[in-house]
């Protein structure tokens, strides 16, 4: 059952990739898309310069955020945990906005590193406030409160030093607006984290048996936790540096995937990446096509799907 849904997920993702290239303010027929990749074609700008990088970014960012969520949920045995609920993504966003506001002439390519610092600080802050033995709900509330704090700081910085509104919404809710090849190039080095994460899959399975069993099976439980959280923070920070704190994606995708393929991390982690990519591609497609040429931030769409799901999880949590 587990592997049977993988082909469907891959097909769905490819379908969405094509749909993302086809639809938008201008619809381009399927046959024209390949032609649009060549210079000189009438659709060259729309396809090659605008939609293609954005679609690839949506796929990668969705996959990475979902993977980060799966890692966090795998380590902290808490169904409500994910980088966005725990305030890590907003921490990264705040650091990025801070950097851009106060060093307007600085090099943009440092943004992922700055975001990484922010998300690390946010993670440490959460750990300092909660310690290692907090109840499910308390951890989630503290995370949410921290996220509210960072969001209000972002809000404040935005209002004091006004940016263009699409940019502002990008940093507050997460959006793929105006992202192109440059941002894609910034994200590429961080893809190296993915193999490391997948490599952790087997020990992550064992840690679910409980710490004692895992240790007797030769797993260094605390090192494993630290490693997966560090990877999750890195993935989150790099994504946030590119398209802002897109909410609820890291929370919803792993849960959905667990329903589809079960809890074995060897399958769960790759499948989560597919589901995350599908969700963000879908969110961005809807956000762009709902009322063209106006576009909504993709983060709004993920919140509209994700918040009810969060409520449902909350109802089921004991």
């Amino acid at each position: 059952m587990a592997t049977r849904s993988l082909p469907f997920l891959i097909l769905a993702m490819i379908g969405l990739l094509i749909a993302n290239l086809m639809f938008g303010a201008v619809s381009i027929p399927f046959k024209q898309i390949l032609a649009g990749l060549q210079t000189g074609n009438e659709h060259y700008f729309t396809i090659h310069e605008y939609r293609l990088p954005r679609t690839i970014l949506a796929m990668l960012v969705g996959a990475m955020m979902a993977l980060a969520g799966a890692l966090v949920q795998g380590v902290i045995r808490n169904p409500l945990a994910s980088p966005d609920v725990l305030g890590v993504s907003h921490g990264a966003g705040l650091a990025a906005v801070f950097y851009m506001t106060f060093f307007p002439n600085a090099d943009i390519s440092w943004l992922p590193a700055v975001a990484l610092v922010g998300s690390l600080v946010a993670a440490l802050m959460l750990w300092w406030l909660c310690g290692s033995h907090s109840s499910t709900i308390k951890l989630a509330i503290t995370g949410v409160a921290l996220a509210a704090l960072y969001a209000s700081c972002i809000d404040f910085l935005m209002l004091v030093k006004p940016l263009e509104i699409n940019n502002a919404l990008l940093w507050l809710t997460g959006s793929l607006w105006g992202r192109g090849w440059n941002q894609l190039a910034m994200l590429l080095p961080w893809l190296l984290l993915i193999p490391f994460a997948l490599w952790l899959a087997k020990p992550l399975n064992l840690i679910h048996l409980g710490d004692d069993s895992a240790i007797s099976l030769g797993i260094k439980a605390n090192k494993l936790r630290l490693a997966s959280l560090a990877i999750a923070v890195g993935l989150t920070a790099s994504c946030v540096a590119i398209c802002g704190p897109i909410g609820f994606l890291g929370l919803v995708a792993p849960h959905l995937t667990r329903k589809l393929v079960g809890g074995r991390h060897q399958i769960l982690l790759p499948a989560t990446m597919l589901v995350g990519a599908i969700l963000l591609l879908l969110a961005d497609l809807v956000a762009r096509t709902i009322d063209p040429p106006i576009e909504l931030p993709a983060g709004i769409m993920t919140a509209i799907i994700g918040a009810p799901y969060f409520l449902w999880l909350l109802l089921r949590t004991k």
Binding site: K138, A145, S152, D155, L159, L296, I300, A303, A307, L311
Partner: protein, 333 residues
Amino acid sequence: MISLRFSFFAQCLLLLLLLFACSWISLFSWSVITVTPADALHALYNMNQDSIAQHIVHDLRLPRVLVGIMVGANLAAAGVIMQGLTQNPLASPSVLGINAGAALGMASVSTIAPWFGLLGSSIAAIIGGGIAWAFVMLLGSAWRGGNEHGRLVLAGVAISALCAALTKAVIIIAEDQAAGVLTWLAGSLTDARWQTFDSLWPVCLIGLLGAMLIAPTLNLLQLGDDNARNLGVSLMWVKLGGSFLVLLLVGSAISSVGAIGFVGLLVPHMARMLAGQDHRKFLPIAMILGACLVVLSDTVSRGIIYPAETPAGAILALIGAPFFIYLVRKRTL
């Protein structure tokens, strides 16, 4: 006993003086055209028609301060009632989603059906807030009582996130460019005029009087639902009535100035520190404190990037969010 009562009135008096001082400062500070402190007072009782400064005070600053006072009192009273009803120290209009729901109601009415006007928008705010509040109470299983504090808050936060996302979507789609969204969502007193004042004060008066009337019952609720019932409190009616009051207070406040947050969370705790646990005493103190807080943050919001203005709500969120974290950490959830 006598000394207690005296100290309560003394506290009220001192806080009223503080409120007066805050308002006075707010009347003359940070103005592009110089307004002297004396101008601010003259404009109140003996206006010189030729002075531009006094016109500014009378036509712009005074309604703004008055609206700020009422909004602060409303939100603080709403916070007190909500914390009393749910027995949850984190309950407040912004945390439990009423602010976001009311904002969504207003945004959808003003964009989809703009002919309703100002009165319609406050009714929309009340309805939107009411729906959000009902959802939060049901999902957070608050009607069952007991130790579901954390769940209630998380339900509120999720509903807030949902409503905020929908609000942004509605506004962005309705207006071709969404420049006003951020200011409006943060809540600002910039657009408060005499017109706003006129539509706000009757609702405000009714709401605050209702809050004072319900205060003794809130004292009984503190004993726990079972004890309150034994003492003859009809829980359902109190909770329904209290919720209605909260919606009235929050809806009117938000429809006039936007979604100002965290006053309802912050102020009841400060008031409890000053006046103890008796709702009859700390409710009025909370109202005055809330008014002070909003007027003060409005004054500060004008000074931060003078001569441009920051929404007062953004400043309150900066103070309120750390306090929220502090409360989460202090209370065992």
